[in-house]
Amino acid sequence: MNLTVNGVEAELVSPPLATLLHALREELGVTSPKAGCQQGGCGACTVLVDGQPRRACLVPLGAVDGAEVVTVEGLGSLDGLSPVQAAFHERYAAQCGFCTSGMMIAAHAYIERGGTGERASILEALGGHVCRCTGYTKIVEAVGAAARGEVAPADVQADFDPQPGEPEILVKGAPA
């Protein structure tokens, strides 16, 4: 079975009834989509299949032979964040981060299909995604900000340096 994952062609040996989630995580080591419930109920496994957001835990591999799959790793990276990723970071939309992958894929798809950032439309688009940490407010804010182009990725990446007038930041860098 063949898949193009984040632009890279891969040949898979997982059986056709294995889930896409299993193939991505266990066979290809692409771990951003998470196993939160494996019933399609939490949204943490959501990836783009041929541009459309799908629950990877509900997709049998046999159904997506030849498809293009995009995960968070394909949205952007540390030296080139996508607008959605920049907005999620800047607006504190992630706490524990476990639901974040699915939320961002859904947000990305929402914006791609013309989402304007109007609150009700964001709630509708992300309605299948559960977050237990944030209470959703910052997530909705981040999606709106991304939709309206309010967060420039370049600004977010320079975030560790204090801006003029800002106090010195006490915690630098990332944990090991």
């Binding site: 237990r132 930041i169 860098g173 944990p175």
Partner: protein
């Protein structure tokens, strides 16, 4: 205080948004085995026999463990704090809640592990379970533990007690007695990351344990005790938790995974299913709280009687600690000079309960605030004014004899009133946390500061 008011980026934010945060399930270990646990289908039963031989022989199964494999099977989470152990890692002779783990299997893949569970034969003798803790004290009630219905180690008592002042006198002098019963229910934590552990046995005999625990050193101690290993044989890797909220302090997956890893000498992962999370993971406890307040017609709370029953589920875990915190706060943010509090940790055949945000205190705050509103309603008094009048002030003494130095009840309530557009009367807008005087120092509160009136506070 340079950080206060500063916009600090989350140090893990960039990792979260690029999918690089490594949770336990994301750690790769070659030769990994998958774990499944056999869980009790019964709420309460004797175990007459366990036969794992067929499971052990099933192709693809690398290790099966039961209580017989555990060096110290019964260990208590709070043994270091004087709470005797009562919970087995793997059930031995009986089960006390549906979902209690009896055996565990490590196999080459998840499906094989699941098949192996079917091959474990357990002979049960079902017993009548207890679910309603209010019935636990009845002579004929089903027993959860042999020593009785409650946790018996609060010093010489079998309940957490607080006694202060003269509650009888307070009730004699009351114009009105307001009673209420409050029963906040159990709540599941539902972290999006299910309980997951990965244990790698190293060549030097150590175990590397990837854990989602909220309390690494604590969990390290639990694993060390159960397995009777010195701490320097364990290396815990953790700190990245996909949501805990108090539910990941029970060291619920690490020890069994470690046991399997030692037996199989292969890396072992145990990732709970969402169904296991709902069935077997600990919850916030249900509580039963009865309040009776002796109140004057002008809104002074002279005294309070409290009876709390805390549903610990099948085992103690941290319940005694939660109840103690609950006891500290049973007057709420208000000054009540005469109190009589009894709180019991009661066992039931439900999943053992554990910490969850505000452990022990949220239940009593909920009860107290509803009760204050009830009192206001009974007296025909404004609920803000009732609270402000009785609110903690500097110099007031709490039921557990803490003399308050800097309570913030009054200014916080005033700020809240302003935020929600409630206009307080001038007298109440003028209130502050300053020590009581004048109209705010009625006779029954004189001498309240610092004096015990010769009664115990325990």
């Amino acid at each position: 205080m340079k950080a206060v008011g500063a916009r600090l980026p989350r140090y893990d934010g960039l990792a979260h948004v690029t999918g690089r945060t490594t949770y336990v399930d994301d750690v790769r270990a070659p030769g990994l085995l998958w774990t499944k646990a056999l869980r009790s289908p019964h709420h309460s039963a004797r175990i007459l026999s366990i036969d794992t031989s067929r499971a052990e022989q099933h192709p693809g199964v690398r290790a099966v463990v039961t209580h017989a494999d555990v060096p110290q099977n019964v260990y208590g989470h709070l043994e270091a704090l004087g709470v005797p152990a009562d919970e087995p890692l793997l059930a031995d002779g009986e089960v006390r809640y549906r979902g209690q783990p009896i055996a565990a299997v490590a196999a080459e893949d998840e499906a094989t592990a699941r098949e192996a569970l079917e091959l474990i034969a357990v002979d049960y003798e079902e017993r009548e379970p207890l679910f309603d803790i209010r019935l636990a004290f009845d002579p004929g009630a089903p027993k959860v533990h042999e020593w009785g219905p409650v946790f018996p180690h609060f010093g010489p008592h079998r309940q957490r007690r607080v006694r202060k002042g003269d509650v009888e006198g307070a009730f004699d002098r009351a114009h009105v007695v307001v009673e209420g019963v409050y029963r906040p229910g159990a709540i599941e934590h539902v972290p999006i990351e299910p309980q997951t552990a990965l244990v790698v046995p190293e060549a030097d005999g150590r175990l590397t344990i990837y854990s989602c625990t909220q309390a690494m050193y604590f969990s390290m101690g639990v694993v060390a005790q159960h397995l009777q290993l010195p701490l320097n044989r364990l290396k815990f890797v953790g700190g990245t938790v996909g949501g805990g909220f108090g539910g990941k302090v029970d060291t619920a997956s690490e020890t069994i995974s470690a046991l399997l890893a030692l037996k199989a000498q292969r890396p072992v992962k145990w990732r709970w299913t969402r169904e296991e999370e709902f069935l077997a993971s600990s919850t916030r406890a249900p509580w039963h709280i009865e309040l009776a307040d002796a109140v004057t017609e002008d809104g002074w709370i002279l005294g309070r009687r409290t009876l709390t029953l805390h549903d610990a589920g099948a085992y103690t875990r941290f319940s005694s600690y939660g109840l103690t915190k609950h006891a500290f706060h049973h007057a709420g943010a208000y000054t009540i000079p005469n109190v009589h509090f009894d709180g019991f940790v009661v066992y039931s055949n439900r999943v053992p309960t554990t910490a969850m945000r505000g452990f022990g205190v949220t239940s009593v705050s909920y009860a107290v605030e509803l009760h204050m509103s009830r009192i206001a309603e009974v007296l025909g008094m404004d609920p803000w004014e009732l609270r402000l009048k009785n609110a903690n002030r500097i110099g007031d003494v709490t039921p557990n004899l803490v003399r308050l130095k800097d309570p913030s009840t009054v200014p916080v309530m005033q700020a809240a009133a302003e935020r929600v557009g409630v206009e307080l009367r001038p007298e109440y807008r003028a209130m502050s946390s300053e020590p009581r005087s004048g109209d705010l120092l009625p006779e029954h509160l004189v001498g309240n500061a610092g004096q015990t009136n010769g009664t115990e506070a325990r």
